[in-house]
């Protein structure tokens, strides 16, 4: 590697419940759930349970395919009343119940083809509760920084939205 410096951890708008930060080219979410690790593992890997929680508010998730083993593929379709269906898909790279798994997390972006990258989930027991860490490997810090600049810092997405609307007015 070019550098021996440890990547800096930068907070990216943590909330009361969820810690969000970037570290190098990784985007990390941490949240502790008040449930035993086996149960959290089940919720994340059982196709019957995934639709119960996966996706943004107001969306419905259909598990099309979910083969939880290394090399197995997965495909979820997310539906919402105000938009077309979006498919998320990828491949399981590592599966180590109940301590975690790694998969690729992909989805199609208009005109840009499939986008995304590998994502790691770590499930740790913390005094009867379970700390889940998800690490999205976005690529380089530059890419992450560029992405954060548009969407992550200070409601920048809304800014861009407003900007776009403003420009659309001509």
């Amino acid at each position: 590697m070019e550098t021996t410096m440890a990547p800096t951890r930068i907070d990216r708008g943590s909330t009361d419940t969820t810690t969000i930060y970037s570290e190098g080219g990784d985007l990390v979410f941490e949240r502790t759930f008040d449930a035993p690790r086996e149960r959290v593992w089940e919720a994340m890997t059982d196709p019957e349970l995934v639709p119960r929680w996966w996706g943004q508010h107001g969306t419905t998730t259909t598990v099309v395919e979910m083969d939880v083993r290394p090399g197995g593929t997965w495909r979820y379709v997310s539906s919402a009343p105000d938009r077309e269906d979006v498919a998320f898909f990828g491949e399981y790279l590592e599966v180590t119940p109940p301590t975690g798994f790694k998969w690729t997390f992909m989805f199609d972006v208009d005109g840009a083809g499939p986008q995304g990258g590998p994502e790691t989930f770590i499930l740790e027991e913390v005094g009867g509760r379970t700390k889940v860490t998800s690490i999205g490997h976005m690529g380089s810090p530059e890419i992450l920084e560029g992405a954060l600049a548009t969407g992550m810092v200070g409601g920048a997405i809304e800014t861009w939205d407003r900007l776009e609307a403003l420009l659309a007015e001509g």
Partner: protein, 125 residues
């Protein structure tokens, strides 16, 4: 090639000067001279940044030779903002839903255990 468009946009955005240029252009079109003014930078330096932004499809420049105002093209930004915004919101909200789902499970389990105890208590021993 198409799949790499987003990478080109990301790379273009990964520079504070270029983001400042875009922010300036959000207020309306501007000439290269006007864009260079707030920065301690030579015109060729600014031109280099504009070239990167142009290649990423983030700006377009007028045709007239003398007066070539730059204009913002928000479409690629939309893709990037959507991507990161979706990603972040997705996990934030999924974790929230997972939390309430696990709590629900916990509650129903306690209820079932409670019923079992009740049944046992009614059973003659």
């Amino acid at each position: 090639m198409e799949a790499d468009r987003l990478s080109v946009t990301f790379a273009a955005l990964a520079d504070p000067t270029r983001r400042a240029i875009l922010a300036r252009l959000a207020h309306g079109e501007a000439t290269v001279n006007e864009l260079a003014a707030p920065f301690d930078m030579s015109l060729p330096g600014i031109s280099k940044h504009l070239k990167v932004l142009h290649r990423a499809g983030l700006i377009e420049q007028g045709r007239q030779a003398q007066w070539r105002p730059c204009r913002l093209q928000p479409k690629p930004l939309r893709g990037v903002a959507d991507w990161v915004g979706q990603y972040r919101r997705h996990w934030e909200e999924s974790f929230e839903r997972l939390d309430s789902y696990l709590r629900e499970l916990q509650d129903s389990k306690e209820q079932i255990n409670g019923d079992d105890d009740g049944t046992d208590a009614n059973r003659p021993r």
